[in-house]
């Protein structure tokens, strides 16, 4: 069973995404910011995909991606940035940090699942 790590400081968004992913049969782990995400990975979580927001307190998405890329378990894990940010520089920063893809928030449930299915077949 694939586990997907969803990182977002908005409980609404976390709940929404978790609902969609769990509905499609994925296990979902959640974190409210990058630091919590890293803590979970350090604690042994091995996500098949990571979906992360960019703008978060404590550790933002770009910092998280950099940290995740320095961690053995998530060095090659697909990390999709989910953001409604329209600033191209943010996208570039995420990409430079090692993000695998970018999905404009909020995605249609079918979009989200399409991307996830493609990257992590159940």
């Amino acid at each position: 069973m694939s586990t997907i790590l969803v990182i977002d400081d908005s409980p609404t968004v976390v709940m929404h995404f978790s609902g969609i992913l769990q509905g499609a049969g994925y296990d979902v782990a959640t974190a409210a910011n990058g630091q919590e995400g890293i803590n979970q990975i350090d604690a042994g979580l091995k996500p098949s995909i990571i979906l992360t927001d960019l703008n978060m307190p404590d550790m933002d998405g770009v910092a998280f991606i950099k940290a995740a890329r320095r961690t053995a378990t998530t060095r090659f894990t697909p990390i999709i940035v989910l953001s409604s940010d329209t600033d191209g520089r943010r996208r570039d920063a995420a990409r430079a940090a090692g993000a695998s893809g970018w999905l404009t928030k909020p995605p249609q449930p079918s979009q989200l699942l399409a991307v996830v299915k493609q990257l992590a077949p159940k």
């Binding site: 908005s10 950099k66 404009t104 979009q111 493609q118």
Partner: protein, 726 residues
């Protein structure tokens, strides 16, 4: 409320909005008065951004649109392209208010009213345009990726695939048909990778079952599947002739744009808003982190760095940043737990009583263990109560806005200074304190503060200060609203009370007694019912709402220096301070907040009125005397007043009366048990409780037991009481 997941997300969203709006307002105010922390502007931006993000899930378009404009302007400031002048600040604070209004409108599902947001949105947009930042994509394009609708199923199974083009027109355009289409999309998806090439945008939603079929619309689906035409026709077996189903293999000649069945191993989702970044085999590479502790080390450049030799280095220091861990729990669950712990406390004291009655020594092991148990249960009770406790900050923050609004309406410059924002109070008390607090603060600005000339003449700064303070004091919460205005005009209050027939003209009253008059029903000092404090709501209503929470309110005032209202509130509504009394051998609890005094009546002071009602002469005044045993039907012969005890009580309506009971037993805290939820509503009884010895005692509803009278008449000579008492 918890059953429906969509509903749960909806509720979570608005809870989150409240938090974010609090952050937003708090952050903006800190930026305004210069006490902002370095990350403050970012936090403000994030708050708006999060609201926009959540709103996107529910397609709350007015909210999304406004949040987007707001966020854009904030980002311009964040990027240093726009200076945060006081004018900009004012626009931001107003925008925060408008955002809060939009959130509320969305929650209450009110129709969109663009007139309310137009002004401020235009001002925000003007700020953007001023720095040439208006070229951000329109929010509709940002938030609503539209075309084309593509559904990418799991990777295709190995084997030679055929590319099938399926075209049909679902009819009739009904919900049933929509459902059928949803089903068949699902079925087709099982055969192989499927793309909806032509059809409504809503096809993207088919997972949610939300497809809309419009009349005569041609659907075109491409399926790459290792199956024959028969299998496909099978899927459509339920479809009507009317659907004009066409199934063909390979490319359709008129289909130029349809994605051909490229034998690419990895079909990419092709909708807008998604991008898989091209992967350089070398990437991603960790950036060499400059050691930040070394002074003068340059900041890390924001660009991909060359290959590094030590790729797997855990984050140095793993950030000591404390991550706040919170969970959201349904309030019902907490209440259930509070209830159970209440039972536990009662059980514990029953056990203690039994051990005592069994003649066991206090030093015996059982007794000692019991004492430990008692200590533990009380600690549990305190901790559980603490779960319900919330800081008053959220309410206080709303008041900041209120002062701003009332100040604008009245033309009296004023600001709110809060103190003790972190003081915790029961969630229910917090929810219900907002209304009385709003009245007090409106009054403070509208009536308490002088106008600008008045303040100048009194040598005060032009801006009035309203102070809102919360603190703990001996097991209760004290909340204070004070102003630095003119203080109460006692001569006018007294004249008004006389004019309204509330007191007689010759009564001598002390200053504090005059101040108390403003709490009488029907009293309002405003000469003109103003837009702000008017609405026919007086201080009596405020007093009643505070009393309904088990609290008390008082006022103190100094001419020329201002007035101060002090509310004393219980920490929780789950327990109540009560007077335990006996009436016809039944144990009753009278809420302590309603009792003014207790006395032994003399037979000579009891008078019959119309033969139906007894009145007690009390220091030159008459109050109705209510025989509790009779009123509740515990006995059918009137109690001897001389053998009884009278409790002088005041109801939430402001009516005073004397309750006649057999005797007073003790004063104690009781855990409130609802009768409605455990049994049924009983007239004159507010709730029940279980006493230490396991007996059930009823809590008296003082308001209900006192015969309705005209409060003005009953209170007509309030002053004379104090006279004779003195």
């Amino acid at each position: 409320m918890s059953g429906d997941p969509a509903n749960a997300i909806w509720n979570t969203f608005f809870e989150e909005c409240e938090e974010q709006l609090g952050e937003l307002e708090g952050g903006l105010l800190r930026l305004q008065d210069g006490t902002a922390e370095p990350d403050c502007l970012n936090a403000v931006f994030r708050a708006v951004h999060s609201i926009k993000g959540g709103a996107g899930i529910f397609a709350l378009n007015p909210l999304i649109r406004f949040a987007h404009v707001f966020e854009t302007t904030l980002s311009v400031v964040r990027d240093g392209k726009l200076e945060m002048t006081p004018d900009v600040m004012t626009i931001f604070i107003r925008a925060a208010d408008v955002l809060a209004d939009l959130v509320r409108a969305a929650r209450e599902k009110q129709p969109d009213d663009p007139s309310k947001t137009k002004d401020i949105a235009a001002q925000l947009a003007a700020l953007n345009d001023g720095v040439g930042a208006g070229k951000k994509p329109a929010v509709d394009a940002v938030m609503a990726p539209k075309k084309p609708a593509v559904i990418v199923p799991p990777p295709p199974p190995a084997g030679p695939d055929h590319v099938w083009h399926i075209q049909f027109t679902p009819t009739p355009a009904s919900d049933a048909t929509s459902h059928e289409v949803a089903l068949l999309l699902h079925e087709l998806g099982r055969l192989g990778p499927m793309t909806v090439v032509g059809g409504p945008d809503a096809a993207m939603n088919h997972i949610e079952g939300a497809i809309e079929v419009s009349p005569g619309q041609l659907w075109h689906i491409v399926v790459r599947a290792n199956c024959g035409e028969a299998a496909l026709r099978d899927v459509f077996s339920f479809a009507d002739e009317e659907w004009k189903l066409r199934i063909s293999q390979g490319a359709l000649e008129e289909e130029a744009s349809a994605p051909e069945a490229e034998p690419e191993p990895e079909p990419e989702p092709e909708f807008e808003g998604f991008e898989i970044f091209a992967m350089d085999p070398q990437e991603p590479e960790p950036e060499p982190e400059p050691v930040k502790l070394i002074a003068g080390a340059p900041p890390a450049p924001e660009k991909p760095a060359p290959v590094s030799a030590d790729p797997v280095v855990p984050e140095a220091g793993a950030k000591a940043a404390a991550v706040s861990k919170t969970i959201r729990v349904d309030l019902d669950r907490v209440d259930r737990m509070i209830d159970l712990v209440g039972e536990l406390v009662i059980n514990g004291s029953m056990l203690g009583q039994m051990v005592g009655e069994a003649g066991i020594s206090r030093a015996a092991g059982v007794a000692l263990a019991l004492r430990d148990l008692d200590q533990l249960t009380r600690e549990i009770q305190d901790s559980v109560m603490a779960i319900r406790a919330q800081p008053v900050r959220a309410v206080f923050q709303r008041m900041t806005r209120l002062v701003r609004e009332v100040s604008a309406q009245t033309g009296k410059p004023a600001r709110l200074v809060t103190e003790g924002d972190n003081t915790e109070l029961d969630q229910t008390v917090i929810e219900r304190i907002g209304e009385p607090l709003t009245h007090l603060i409106r009054n403070a600005v509208d009536h308490g503060l002088e106008d600008t000339e008045g303040r100048k003449a009194a040598g005060k700064p032009a801006e009035g200060v309203i102070r809102l303070r919360a603190l703990h004091r001996s097991g209760r919460i004290i909340m204070e609203v004070s102003d630095d205005g003119k203080g109460l005009d006692r001569a006018r209050i007294k004249a008004k009370a006389v004019q309204k027939g509330l007191i007689s003209a010759d009564v001598q009253l002390t200053d504090s007694e005059i101040d108390e008059l403003i709490f009488l029903p029907g009293f309002s000092t405003a000469q003109v019912i103003s837009d702000v404090s008017g609405r026919g709501v007086g201080m009596d209503v405020v007093r009643r709402s505070v009393q309904a929470l088990g609290g008390r309110i008082s006022i103190s005032s100094k001419p020329g220096e201002g007035s101060s209202f002090t509310m004393s509130l219980p920490l929780t509504l789950a327990v109540l301070d009560g007077m335990v009394v006996a009436a016809a051998e039944q144990i009753l609890i009278v809420p302590l907040t309603t009792i003014i005094e207790t006395l032994k009546p003399r037979a000579a002071n009891v008078h019959e009125l119309d033969g139906t009602m007894q009145m007690l002469a009390l220091r030159g005044n008459f109050v109705p005397l209510v025989d509790v045993s009779l009123a509740l039907g515990f006995s059918n012969k009137p109690a001897e007043a001389a053998q009884s005890v009278a409790l002088l009580v005041e109801t939430e309506r402001g009516v005073r009366a004397a309750l006649l009971v057999d005797r007073i037993i003790e004063q104690r805290q009781v855990v409130i048990k609802s009768l409605e939820s455990n049994y049924q509503a009983v007239n004159c009884i507010a709730a029940a409780t279980v006493l230490g010895d396991g007996r059930v005692a009823l809590i008296l509803d003082v308001d209900a037991i006192i015969p309705a009278g005209k409060p003005e008449q009953l209170m007509s000579r309030i002053g004379s009481w104090e006279d004779e008492a003195a």
